[in-house]
Amino acid sequence: MTRVAGTAEEALGDVPDGATVMIGGFGPAGQPVELVEALLASGAGDLVVVSNNAGNGDDALARLVRDGRVRRIVCSFPRQVDSWHFDAAFRAGRIELELVPQGNLAERIRAAGAGIGAFFTPTGYGTPLAEGKETRVLDGVPMVLETPIRADVALVKAHRADTVGNLVYRRTARNFGPVMATAAGRTVAQVRDVVPAGALDPEAVVTPGIYVEAVVALDSTTAVAGATA
């Protein structure tokens, strides 16, 4: 049963030190900014973060990294023009990096949510990112065995929720939200608004409410030019 929280802090709830936290978004698009701010404010440390990127500029994820609160990041593309906090932490050896091809990241997260114990994929075969991994030729194609990635908490940004936690997203901000929501012990979603159950088209729900522990409506969630319902 989904909680409808009043603030980002209340939605976030307790995240213990050492937790694994998934953070949605592809760069800024779909990043749950206020929830990550709340995570920063909570003081939780020794975190493992699973996220496509490692923070932009001085955003909340970048500050988590800067402040040494992230022990390890599982990520496809930490290097960005403005990823200076990650770059510094990495060069100083203050953060561990597991670099994962983006499609493997998505599929491994899905596997965790779908009860798949491991899967073979061609992606990464013969590259440094597959070193030490089990391989097998299947149907003539050399493949690598990849394992699920799960988290204690997933923080995602969606466009709109209903009161039972169903989520719809907006444009390419959808990205990692729907798969991360399935792969965490607890998923928290920030949205632009929360509507009554029955107000979302059941055919168009992207994340069913079963995956969502808490939602919080934040005015700033979809602060974009020309944003429509």
């Binding site: 670099l99 091809p101 499609g103 590259t127 990112l129 020309g226």
Partner: protein, 228 residues
């Protein structure tokens, strides 16, 4: 061998970036589903003829991607894989990361055009890491794109800025994918590699731009097929 028609006849000098983009675009069949890698390959989109029915995929979760928006229409929630604002064409659709990469990895994209640091005659690709010891590693979707599409081609300059050949016998940089590239479109030549190389294991020159076959072999330090 002559340059492609849209480039207005035989060339006596290497292709410009835009000419190269047009050359790549000319080989994309009408109705194809195409993914254009970040950087140089993005230019190909501008050279797809209107009405060709080519649909662009962006691996961050969209089919039916359109060109850059007018400044007033920029939507930070509508970006391509390079995190650059784009637009939505009629018939577009959105999907999440696992579905988007399933589309790529499942062999549904007809053509993927990627940039490269190095490509080998066998079609190996190195395009994600310079191997520099102090570099911050980042891979993004490169490895998925390299092996996922029906046909993966590379668009690049033939030589690096320091003059080193980028088409090589064996890649020395960390690999992105093994035997995945079938053709290289470069400023001085179009060259088949990987499955399209000849029985001697040589990359095969398909077309040259302002450079002779022997000169090309000298530039690259390789023996190439497709003489004449």
């Amino acid at each position: 061998m002559t340059a492609h028609d849209p480039l207005t006849g035989p060339l006596t000098s290497p292709l410009t970036r835009e000419q190269l983009a047009a050359r790549v675009a000319a080989d994309i069949a009408p109705g194809s589903y195409v993914n254009l890698g970040i950087g140089l390959p993005t230019l190909v989109g501008d050279h797809l003829p209107p009405g060709s029915g080519v649909t662009l995929h962006t691996e961050n979760g969209m089919l039916g991607m359109g060109p850059a928006p007018a400044p007033e229409d920029v939507d930070p929630e509508l970006v391509n894989a390079g995190k650059v604002p784009v637009t939505e064409l009629p018939g577009a659709s959105y999907f999440h990361q696992a579905d988007s990469f399933a589309m790529m990895r499942g062999g549904h994209i007809d053509v993927c055009v990627l940039g490269a640091f190095q490509v080998s005659a066998g079609g190996d690709l190195a395009n994600w890491s310079t191997g520099a010891p102090d570099a911050i590693p980042a891979v993004g979707g490169a490895m998925d794109l390299a092996v996922g599409a029906r046909r993966t081609v590379v668009m690049m300059t033939l030589l690096a800025k320091d003059g080193a050949p980028k088409l090589v016998e064996e890649c020395t940089l960390p690999l992105t994918g093994v035997g995945c590239v079938s053709r290289v479109y470069a400023d001085r030549a179009v060259i088949d590699v990987g499955p399209g190389r000849d029985a001697h294991g040589r990359a095969v020159v398909v077309e040259r731009f302002g450079v002779g076959h022997a000169e090309l072999e000298d530039l690259l330090g390789l023996t190439l097929g497709g003489e004449g």
